[in-house]
Amino acid sequence: MTWKIENHPKGGLQIAHLVSPRFTARWTTGEFPIEGVREGAFFWTDEGSGLDDAIHLYDFAWDYLVPDQEQLSQLMANATSEIERYIMTGA
């Protein structure tokens, strides 16, 4: 298992990447949750096909190192695809 989506201790849901580079991040859809951000200054928004389709990741916690920009883009694309699958299947 590479990804896990579960409840976040502060409410809402988080996604965890279980292999290197390991990280957890809270996520939501629609409008950017500016009032809910608590940790750090790094966010990732995948706009998808429009505002209703946007997925935002925030409150990141990296286990070791943040990957370089190219790896990061691919990792975030994979994360948002995983979140979309979760949204559409509920699992």
Binding site: S49, G50, D52, D53, A77, S81, E84, I87, M88
Partner: protein, 315 residues
């Protein structure tokens, strides 16, 4: 204020009905390799069900898409494609549920509550997407079956339901008190497809019997809402089955009066079309489940094609 999903979809269907078009009658001239007549398919070949079927048929009809395959922006990206700039997606819906832990008002103990909800998401037809693998755009080969061969599996499908069908007169109907379908003789129909489409409609009514799906909408007289709702379920269910079995649905002669009664139901209750589509889907699934494990090869091939993934699912 932003319209909710029920409003958006019901409004679209009402607009279509007011223009005299039944949105669940798909464009039957599709010539994509996935099948001449098919339910809309997801990126992995899985067919959509319920209200999403005719939502996407309606979109395909208005935009002129031939391909029956739809996917999200991100699924297209995963497959190496990209949505063309300026393209607008189509709304589909899914039902889901969340579980919340709340304190019980009387005992104070934590209890888990499951809350169902419906959410929309946006999909694009593959004709709106560039650079997907070639098979997503494949055109159909010329048909090889003559009409007789094509309709034999439909006959087998209906036989396997075990429905009691009597022939005679000039009206088709289901009689609940006798649990029997009454059909005019085959020769009375203008072509075999009209006959089978009518029989599928009545067979959907047949599923309402208490020993099957026990579907009951209350009042039963012509013109009342319960009657209109049951007719809507039969109409949509027959459209789903027609797509599954590869036959062309017929436009009934009482077209205008039915549309008027459906419009009334839909305008009075913005959730009615969702309920009708769900009941229709349940009826179609029930009839499919009555089929033997190894159905006729032709029918089996058609149904398997709808179930089988077109491409392996991305991990």
């Amino acid at each position: 204020m932003k319209q909710d999903i029920y409003d958006r979809i019901t409004t679209r269907i009402i607009d279509s009905l007011e223009a005299g078009v039944r949105p669940w009658l798909k464009p039957w001239n599709a010539e994509h390799a996935a099948g001449k007549i098919t339910r809309p398919l997801r990126h992995n070949g899985q067919p959509y069900s319920g209200i999403n079927v005719f939502m996407l048929w309606m979109e395909a009809e208005s935009a002129g898409y031939i391909a029956p395959i739809w996917m999200t922006f991100r699924q297209a990206r995963e497959l190496g494609g990209h949505v063309r700039k300026g393209e607008t997606g189509s709304l589909v819906v899914y039902a889901n549920k969340i579980t919340r832990t709340e304190a019980d008002e009387t005992t104070g103990e934590d209890v888990e509550r499951t809350i169902p909800f419906m959410k929309g998401y946006t999909v694009f037809n593959v004709e709106q997407i560039e650079a997907l693998p070639a098979h997503y755009y494949a055109a159909a080969e010329a048909p090889v079956l003559d009409p007789g061969e094509r309709l034999a599996p439909v006959e087998a499908f209906l036989d396997h339901t075990g429905a009691d069908i009597a022939y005679g007169g000039n009206r088709a109907f289901y009689m609940p008190s006798e649990d029997r379908i009454q059909m005019p003789p085959f020769e009375f129909f203008r072509d075999p497809e009209s006959y089978y489409a009518t029989l599928l409609h009545e067979t959907v009514h047949w599923t309402k019997h208490p020993s099957r799906l026990d579907r009951e909408f209350g009042r039963k007289r012509w013109g009342d809402e319960g009657y209109a709702m049951e007719e809507l379920v039969a109409e949509i269910g027959a459209a789903f089955l027609s797509a599954d079995l590869g036959i062309t649905p017929v436009i009934r002669e009482d077209h205008a009066s039915y549309i008027a009664s459906w419009l009334k139901v839909l305008k009075d209750d913005k959730r009615a079309i969702f309920s009708a589509a769900a009941h229709a889907q349940r009826a179609a699934t029930h009839l499919h489940e009555m089929q033997p494990a190894s159905p006729d090869p032709e029918l089996g091939d058609r149904l398997d094609r709808q179930r089988a993934p077109i491409v392996p699912q991305p991990s």
